[in-house]
Structure formats: structure tokens, C-alpha cells
């Protein structure tokens, strides 16, 4: 036990004396979560629009100001004719133009129907559709409110889509769990594989193996600090997402942390496995990046929905640990469900951990031959 602690202390010296290691350990996670949260999110915010109001009456102005009231849209310009629409889009700043037909409120008064056209820039198809949906939603809510006031026009059907668990269609809600899964995987696997291969490169691993320490003790001694640090990282990510992105944690905090520890252990065992395969630090880094980072981003359902993938890739995604962890995270954090809803995913992660630890121990022994 004492030997083990000596080992852990030594490992902490390595970590805290190397500026680069510290940067990777703590700088990257914070930067990543902020970048993904703020920039890459597909959330609608401060979209520039132009309005072509051919009617210019009280109601069109009310609708306009209603659209511009929230944080979703801001006014770029008022247009005066159809011919300006295309040139406005050409500038690239304006993502949407709203057109009120002439005599808008008169038509509404006479027939109970008025036409409003939403033209959005679909060069980015997803955003285009999203913007249009948002605008539609706002207009509908205006219609509903004014109906409540007057109460004499028959209620019409509301078509606003409602997103479960993500009512504001907030991108961050999707990105934070994914980013967390990615960061923990990367940090844990990358750092352990690098630190073990470094000992191999420096020749110290040989001396350690020639000492009375058992290989298992060496591995545990090396991995322990990273479990602690990765856990601290997970906490930092959770705090950031809670306070900066207002991401709720609806489920049990304890369960969330336990699942996180399980996932970290899995990532570390992957790191150990990589280090038994890689001959030097460069190779360890290369394998971690190529075999872990890219699949995590592409196949875990983090960015691209798994249901939309070709069948082969869907099968591949099954062996991606982050895929299951993301499901667990979303369940616990957003839906607030308990272990009853995530036991299957938990079991899968547990199984993967056992397999990789087993493989690593076996490979470690072969290497001794």
C-alpha cells in the first residue's frame, strides 16, 4: 500500500511539473466545452432579418415587434419592394425576410385570413428551416394571444412544433453531454497511454518491471491520479454547463457521478490497452486521436443522429463507449430518469471495461515474454 502511494505521488509530480500536461488536462476541456457550447451549437440567437411590410398597419407592426422582441431575431433593415429581397440575401448578413401582404389587417378583418410570407436563406438548409420554424412559432403565438383578447374569432389550429426535453430547441443541451463524453474519453485514454509509453521510452518501465512491483500495481499506480483528475474535469464540465449554459441536472447527482466514474474507468482501461499496443508516445497519441476522437465525434450520435446513419455505421456505433454514455447523460440530466432507465447502457459500459482491462493485462504479460 505504501509503495502504491509512493507511486501515485510520483505520478502527480510528473503531471504538475509539466505545463503541457496541465494544459491538456484542464485547459482543453474548458475551452472545448465553451467552444462547442457557444459556437457550434445549432441554437437560434440574434439572427438578422429584414421586413418587407407592404401594408404598414397596426397589426403588422405588432407582429413585427413581437418577432423582434425575443433574443432570436434582430432587425437588419426595412425593405420597400420585392426587388430588394434577392440583393438583401446576397449580402449574406440577412438570413430571413418577412413579407406582409398589402392590406394585411383589412384582409384579416374581412376574411379572418391574412398572408405573411417567410423567406429564409436555405444555403444552410438546417438553419434555414430552423429559423422559419421559429418565426412561424412566434407568429402563431401572436395569433393565439390576440384571439384570446377578442375571443370572437373561432380558434384555429396551432402548428407550432414542441420539442420534448428541449423546449427552446437549445443546441447546448445536445452538445454538452456529447462534449463531456468526448473530453473524458480523450483526456483519460490519451493521458494514460502517453504516460505509460513515456516510461517505456525512457527505460524506466524496465526498471519498474525488474523491481518487486507487480505489473498490476504499476498500472494501478499510474492510473489512479488520472481517475482523480478526470473526475475533477467532469465536475468542472458539469459546473460550467450548469452555470454558463443553464443545463439542468434533473436526475440523481449521485447516479450521474457514479456513471461518470464508470465511464472514466472504461476510458482509462482503453488508454492502458493502447499503451500495450503503441511503442512510443507519438504512436499512442496517434492511436488515441484516430481511434478514439474521430469515432467519438462522428459515430456516437454526438453530432450526427445515429438513426440517420447507414446500417453498417449504426452497427459500428454500438461498440463506441461514448454512444452509451451520452444516452445515460441525457437520461439523467435532461429527463431526470433513474437507474431503471439506464441499466442496460450501464451494463454495456461495465462489460466493455472488463473486456479492456482483461485484454490489457493479457497483452502486458505477453510483452514480458
Amino acid at each position: 500500500m505504501k509503495r502504491y502511494w509512493g507511486f501515485v505521488v510520483k505520478e502527480f509530480y510528473h503531471i504538475f511539473r509539466d505545463f503541457r500536461t496541465l494544459l491538456i488536462l484542464f485547459g482543453i476541456p474548458v475551452a472545448q466545452i465553451l467552444i462547442f457550447g457557444f459556437v457550434v451549437s445549432n441554437e437560434i440567437r440574434n439572427i438578422k432579418i429584414s421586413i418587407l411590410d407592404l401594408s404598414g398597419d397596426e397589426i403588422t407592426q405588432k407582429v413585427s415587434s413581437k418577432i423582434l422582441a425575443g433574443e432570436y431575431f434582430e432587425l437588419h433593415s426595412y425593405l420597400s419592394g420585392y426587388d430588394q429581397i434577392e440583393s438583401t440575401f446576397r449580402t449574406g448578413n440577412v438570413k430571413e425576410v418577412i413579407i406582409f401582404e398589402p392590406g394585411f389587417s383589412q384582409n384579416l378583418g374581412k376574411t379572418g385570413k391574412a398572408s405573411l410570407r417567410i423567406v429564409s436563406d436555405a444555403s444552410d438548409a438546417n438553419t434555414g428551416r430552423l429559423i422559419a420554424t421559429y418565426t412561424e412559432g412566434i407568429v402563431m403565438s401572436y395569433v393565439r394571444e390576440s384571439m384570446d383578447e377578442t375571443a370572437n374569432i373561432p380558434f384555429t389550429i396551432e402548428s407550432r412544433p414542441r420539442m420534448f426535453f428541449n423546449q427552446g430547441m437549445k443546441g447546448v443541451y445536445m452538445f454538452v453531454p456529447g462534449t463531456m463524453a468526448m473530453i473524458l474519453m480523450l483526456i483519460s485514454a490519451l493521458m494514460t497511454s502517453i504516460s505509460i509509453t513515456r516510461e517505456k521510452e525512457m527505460g524506466t518501465m524496465e526498471v519498474l518491471l525488474a523491481s518487486p512491483l507487480k505489473p498490476v500495481q504499476i498500472i494501478f499506480g499510474k492510473v489512479t491520479p488520472y481517475i482523480g483528475l478526470a473526475f475533477v474535469n467532469a465536475i468542472i464540465i458539469l459546473i460550467l454547463s450548469y452555470f454558463v449554459f443553464k443545463l439542468p441536472i434533473n436526475g440523481s447527482m449521485l447516479l450521474l457521478l457514479l456513471e461518470t466514474i464508470l465511464y472514466i474507468t472504461l476510458a482509462l482501461s482503453l488508454g492502458i490497452f493502447i499503451s500495450t499496443v503503441a511503442k512510443n508516445q507519438q504512436m499512442a497519441m496517434f492511436i488515441s486521436m484516430l481511434a478514439l476522437l474521430l469515432p467519438t465525434i462522428l459515430l456516437s450520435g454526438f453530432i450526427f443522429p445515429i438513426e440517420n446513419m447507414p446500417k453498417i455505421l449504426q452497427w459500428l456505433s454500438v461498440i463506441m463507449p461514448p454512444r452509451w454514455f451520452i444516452v445515460i447523460l441525457k437520461n439523467i440530466m435532461l429527463k431526470g430518469t433513474g437507474i431503471l432507465f439506464v441499466w442496460k447502457e450501464t451494463l454495456i459500459l461495465l462489460g466493455m471495461t472488463v473486456v479492456f482491462i482483461g485484454l490489457s493485462v493479457k497483452r502486458f504479460k505477453i510483452r514480458l515474454e
Partner: protein, 244 residues
């Protein structure tokens, strides 16, 4: 072990990697307290043999006994009773001198008290008291080498294995290093050392020379020189290596 004076007994040691035989039927004994030189060209199988003796690798067949323990069944006990210094000097660059000593002593299970007093003694003897808190990466190579050796014998092992311990070091430092090896041998530690440098072979009590996985000669340097009729070990070595 038949003779209690023998600390290492190797009988018919064979190590094969697939079709390649790295160690072909090695037989030798190392006596307690002697400096045993293990010579050979690169690729002759020295490192393979030393790794097996240290418990870093399994032999394919043969009987091996180190410090009274069997290399197949009592590897843990062997490891407790040996020291090992690799060619890379294997200290941690980002740890200080004192931290390196404490770490390596710690994994051999020495108590804090013993570690502390022996560390002070050691640093005093090496004249490194003033730089005990300096990082290894800022320490000159020669000092690093001495320190690596001192760390390898810090726990008073019965045998210490040195795998090319003088690589890349200047002649003066090598000379000083051999003085340290002599001191350790006088204190009763058996030294098993591999080297390329034939002048170093002269410092050994007995020398074995490996050629192509076999032991081609094993005797004291004087006897070897006599029987091969040359004035230095280099001659012996060249005769053997060409003799193939």
C-alpha cells in the same frame, strides 16, 4: 544449488523467438561477490540473457537460479534480491535527485526512516548534498550515471545487473564509475555487468564472451589473454568474433 558460493547458476538456458535462437544452451555460474563481465557484440544475446536473469522475460528452457531462487517459480523473490540498471540510466527527468531516490527506494519497500538516513549518507558520499533538490534533467550525464547505479544498489541487493552502464560517458567518468563498482563488490554485492568496452573487461574478476547466442569463452581476463596469446582483451574478443 550445489555450491553455496555460486549466486547465479545457469544450466542449458535456451531462449527462442520463433525460429531465431537468441540464447543457445548457455551454462555458467557467477560466484558470490565477484564482478562478472558479460561481453559480446551487439545482437549476440547479452540483453536477452540479462533480461531473463532479472525476471523481465521467460526462458524457453533450462535451469536458472538467481540469489537462491528459481527463475520460473520464484520470480518475485528474485526481484526482491536484485538491483537493475538499464543502459538508459532510467531516472525520472522531472523528479529531483532526492525524489528519484525516495521513489525507487519506496518500491523496494524500505521504510521512511531507512530511506532518509541512507539518502543522506549516499548524497554525502557522492558529494551531491547541495543539489539534492535539482531536477535530474539539469544534472550532468556522469552524475546521473553514478546516481542510477547508487539507486540500483540502494536496497542492498545480493546481485546487481548492469546493462551497458557506461554508454555515452567519457573515459574519466567511466574510470570513476568502475571505482564505484569495485566498492560495491567489496561490500559483498555481486556485480553482473555487460559492456562493449574491452578495456572495462580488464576490471572484471571473470569474463564470459558471447558469440551468436553461445558462450564462446569464460575465464579470468589473465587466463583468456594467455590462452589466446594477446596482450589485451580486445585481441581476445576479435579472435573469438572472427573465429566463427
Amino acid at each position: 544449488m550445489e555450491n553455496p558460493e555460486n549466486i547465479i547458476v545457469v544450466k542449458n538456458l535456451v531462449k527462442r523467438y520463433g525460429d531465431f535462437t537468441a540464447n543457445d544452451n548457455l551454462c555458467f555460474e557467477v560466484r558470490k561477490g565477484e564482478i562478472f563481465g558479460f561481453l559480446g557484440a551487439n545482437g549476440a544475446g547479452k540483453t536477452t540473457a540479462i533480461r531473463i536473469l532479472c525476471g523481465l522475460s521467460y526462458p524457453t528452457s533450462g535451469k536458472i537460479n538467481v540469489a537462491g531462487f528459481d527463475a520460473y517459480t520464484q520470480r518475485e523473490l528474485i526481484k526482491r534480491n536484485i538491483g537493475y540498471m538499464s543502459q538508459k540510466f532510467s531516472l525520472y527527468d522531472d523528479l529531483t535527485i532526492a525524489e528519484n531516490i525516495r521513489f525507487y527506494a519506496g518500491i523496494y519497500g524500505l521504510s521512511q526512516k531507512v530511506i532518509k538516513s541512507r539518502t543522506n549518507q549516499l548524497l554525502h558520499r557522492l558529494g551531491m548534498e547541495e543539489i539534492r533538490n535539482r531536477l535530474i534533467r539539469d544534472v550532468p550525464l556522469g552524475w546521473k550515471q553514478k546516481l542510477a547505479f547508487s539507486v540500483a544498489i540502494f536496497h542492498n541487493p545480493a546481485v546487481v545487473f548492469l546493462d551497458e552502464p557506461t554508454g555515452g560517458v567519457d573515459p574519466v567518468t567511466r574510470r570513476q564509475f568502475w571505482e564505484m563498482i569495485n566498492e560495491a563488490a567489496e561490500e559483498g554485492i555481486t556485480v553482473f555487468v555487460t559492456t562493449h568496452y574491452m578495456d572495462e573487461a580488464e576490471y572484471c574478476d571473470r569474463v564470459s564472451i558471447m558469440v551468436d547466442g553461445k558462450i564462446a569463452a569464460l575465464d579470468t581476463p589473465q587466463n583468456l589473454k594467455k590462452s589466446y596469446k594477446t596482450s589485451d582483451m580486445n585481441g581476445v574478443f576479435l579472435t573469438l568474433a572472427r573465429g566463427e
